[in-house]
């Protein structure tokens, strides 16, 4: 049943999430790498319109040495444009192949799929977001995770300036050994580059980089 759901999603009913903008402007190309104590990931996507993007996603999950190679589609379900703020609701999903050589898995390969929603609100000084995701990787793993962020910009940068955000991220993984992870981080954003760096409550480094052209 779960595979049927993911198959339907894979046929075009996909959904995307919301931090670092999973959908770009028409014709925009985005490359992003996200790295923290749990995983490393790479996402490359192209946006034919301002409402969807399609791309490739690679993930490496450290605890069970699982890799996922997937096609990912992100959709902007709804955007609220206000004079001084903007809010978004995204759906992002992917289907692909998972592989693990950890312990008993011994080279196990399975179909993998994930889906989740993301929402954000921001003005030029404040930011708040939430996203979740369910991942199914056959016998290798299946898990749910969710995270939220709040952010504050110490100054209002204009177009072309270096933009600085101070953020706090809280992740919740009900099936993990440590259910909650708290990560204070700094986001720097200028031109086509976005960098995020932080350290969580277990002393693990977070480093994200987004290039958008």
């Amino acid at each position: 049943m779960r595979y049927m759901l993911f198959a339907l999603l894979g046929m075009g009913l996909f959904i995307p999430p919301a931090f670092a903008r999973p959908v770009s402007y028409p014709g925009g190309v985005t490359a992003m790498t996200m790295n923290d104590g749990d995983k490393n990931s790479l996402h490359l996507h192209y946006s034919p319109t301002a409402k969807m993007s399609l791309g490739y996603k690679f993930e490496y999950w450290r605890d069970n040495e699982m890799t996922i190679n997937a096609v990912q589609m992100n959709n902007l379900l709804k955007r609220w444009n206000k004079p001084d703020s903007q809010a978004n609701l995204y759906l992002k999903s992917g289907v692909g192949v998972a592989y693990s050589d950890y312990g008993d898995f011994d080279g196990e390969t399975d179909i993998a799929a994930f889906t989740g929603i993301a929402a954000d609100w921001e003005d030029r000084r404040r930011f708040i977001s939430y996203e979740n995701r369910y991942t199914e990787a056959g016998d290798i793993d299946d898990f749910f995770m969710q995270s939220a962020r709040v952010g504050w910009a110490p100054y209002e940068g204009d177009y072309g300036d270096l933009h600085t955000w101070l953020m706090l991220q809280v992740e919740h993984k009900p099936e993990g050994d440590d259910h909650y992870t708290v990560t204070p981080l700094v986001r720097l954003f200028k031109d086509v580059h976005l960098v995020e760096a932080g350290m969580n409550n277990r002393g693990e480094i977070l480093f994200n980089y987004v290039f958008r052209y």
């Binding site: 770009s24 925009g28 301002a50 955007r79 206000k82 030029r124 209002e156 204009d158 933009h163 200028k190």
Partner: protein, 108 residues
């Protein structure tokens, strides 16, 4: 002590840069030529929004360039000699970029 002074200088300049850039942006807006169009846009909250509008308008043959002011939420569209876009086209381009038009003002 020298390192501390250097660090303090870098931090101070980082925070001062946006103010200087803002003044330059304001001057560019005030220098807009007659015949240009000023569009008040909802949802302009970051550089990403401005870049999206630049990319979309940059593909139009009629457009020389645009200036985006995040403070006033106004974009100024500068047209090539003898060229123009009607209001409906402007609205469509901005909506296609992911934003909404609040008002369009044309110089007489």
């Amino acid at each position: 002590m020298k390192k501390f002074t250097l660090l303090l200088t870098v931090i101070t300049m980082s925070f001062a840069a946006p103010v200087l850039a803002e003044e330059a942006n304001l001057a560019a807006t005030q220098a807009a030529d007659a015949g240009d169009v000023r569009v008040s846009v909802n949802g302009l909250v970051c550089d990403f929004c401005a870049r999206a509008l630049e990319k979309v308008f940059g593909k139009q043959d009629e457009v020389e360039n645009i200036n985006v002011n995040l403070d006033t939420k106004i974009i100024t569209v500068n047209f090539k000699e003898g060229q123009n876009l009607d209001d409906e086209t402007l609205k469509t381009l901005i909506q296609d970029s992911g934003y909404n038009v609040e008002a369009i003002n044309r110089d007489e």
